[in-house]
Symmetry: C2
Subunit: 254 residues, 2 copies
């Protein structure tokens, strides 16, 4: 049984609380929120506090689920000594944690919506710690939630987080541009939703390098030229930049 | 009962043949392929020909599932007169069809893999025709396959196809860039697959404009600067271009 205290009450914190509180191998000791209002949104029956000096010292680990910017200041002022203090950020190194020799990272590689429940068994979790014993405990915790637990150091995690920006943030922005084109032309964006799901689904069956289709991949200059006449400046620049990159990728490989 | 002849034996043709041949409301009269080899990959029990002059004239419509470039030449040489001749392209206008007054479009908005069976009931199909009676028949055909049938003219379809380039081709290329970053750093790309599925899934629940997250959306300059130091020139240019666009989008709206 691993005892855990959660520090934070935001989106990720709430998802972790939901999965920890009923888990047979996890004992959720306490939840800390910075003020009473933040604690109001939590499920009933938890031990909570908004006084950092009232934290129980009985947890095996203290898991911060707070914004990246807050990690260093928050941990620098953490009152308990010699505790395993863990952050949940993809972008921050292990050493963003201050004031303890026992640092850890527990990074779930997923985007969490406010309301929709998450099936953690499918969420990859990447862990790291400053000593092997703590790392083992974090890996055990990760494995008790997920079928995909990994030990990944800070340098690799930084690269993984960067890859996630392309795979999540930039693809989502491409959806936004597609949605704008639909709206400007009075076309229901719904028409594109099955295509979007299928494109994502294909990554589970083949590499995206192999799955690439479209005018840029075929080097279909006529269609590309026709598309460029339809776009405003911003979309045109993005279309041109991505098309050129795809042409180069497959020009090299053909 | 609608009688259909399919002209072509490629990827889309094979998917259409599979769904037409057992459909209670569709009579698949014949399949034309340009040579005997192309016909060999088709299911058994079909009436097929590789002689364009042997086409049955009994079909209500003749559906070309051939490459965009081939539509004009192929239809210009089509031997039957006064038939409804239909193409399946998103990018080509109705008038790409020659040599008949009865032109039509039947455009399934999906990316088709060679082997995986397709559930056509979820594939949006956009139809258009040069006269209302033919358009009604195409819409009936579309509705007999799919729960999402639309009448969309050539100008709108061109815009839709452009939007699909962003929603499918460019997102897939973002997956490729993410995959490259993973491979260069010895990180399993599998770690990103659930994130990719969830990002796509979110479009069915909220607009991509609302769903956007990440350093560009938060205008988190520190993380953006750190990411830029990790990228080669091509990825760096794409990262900068998309980041600037996201910042502008949300700068305007915040």
């Amino acid at each position: 049984m691993i005892s855990v205290t959660i520090l934070g009450t935001g989106n990720l914190a709430q998802h972790l609380i939901r999965v920890f509180k009923d888990h047979p191998e996890i004992n959720l000791i306490q939840v800390y929120g910075r003020n009473k209002t933040s604690l109001k949104t939590l499920p009933a029956g938890l031990s909570t506090t908004c006084d950092i000096n009232q934290l129980s010292d009985r947890s095996h680990l203290y898991l911060t689920a707070i914004s990246d910017d807050a990690i260093t200041t928050f941990t620098a002022n953490f009152p308990l000594k010699n505790k395993l203090l863990v952050h949940t950020s993809g972008a921050q190194p292990l050493n963003a944690i201050k004031n303890t020799a026992r640092k850890g990272v527990f990074y779930p590689v997923q985007t969490f919506s406010k309301d929709a429940a998450v099936d953690f068994s499918t969420v990859p979790i990447c862990v790291e710690a400053s000593n092997p014993k703590d790392e083992k405990m974090l890996l055990t915790l990760a494995k008790s939630l997920s079928n995909a637990a990994y030990t990944i150091d800070s340098l690799k995690r930084k690269q993984l987080h960067l890859a996630a920006v392309f795979a999540n943030n930039f693809t989502n922005y491409c959806y936004t541009l597609a949605c704008e084109i639909c709206e400007e032309n009075d076309i229901p964006f719904d028409i594109l939703l099955p295509l979007i799901q299928e494109t994502a689904q294909k990554t589970t069956q083949t590499t995206p390098l192999e799955a690439q289709t479209g005018p840029a991949r075929r080097n279909d200059k006529k269609t590309i030229a026709a598309h460029l006449t339809l776009l405003d400046n911003q979309k045109k620049e993005i279309y041109e930049r991505l098309t050129r990159a795809i042409q180069q990728t497959y020009g090299k490989k053909l």
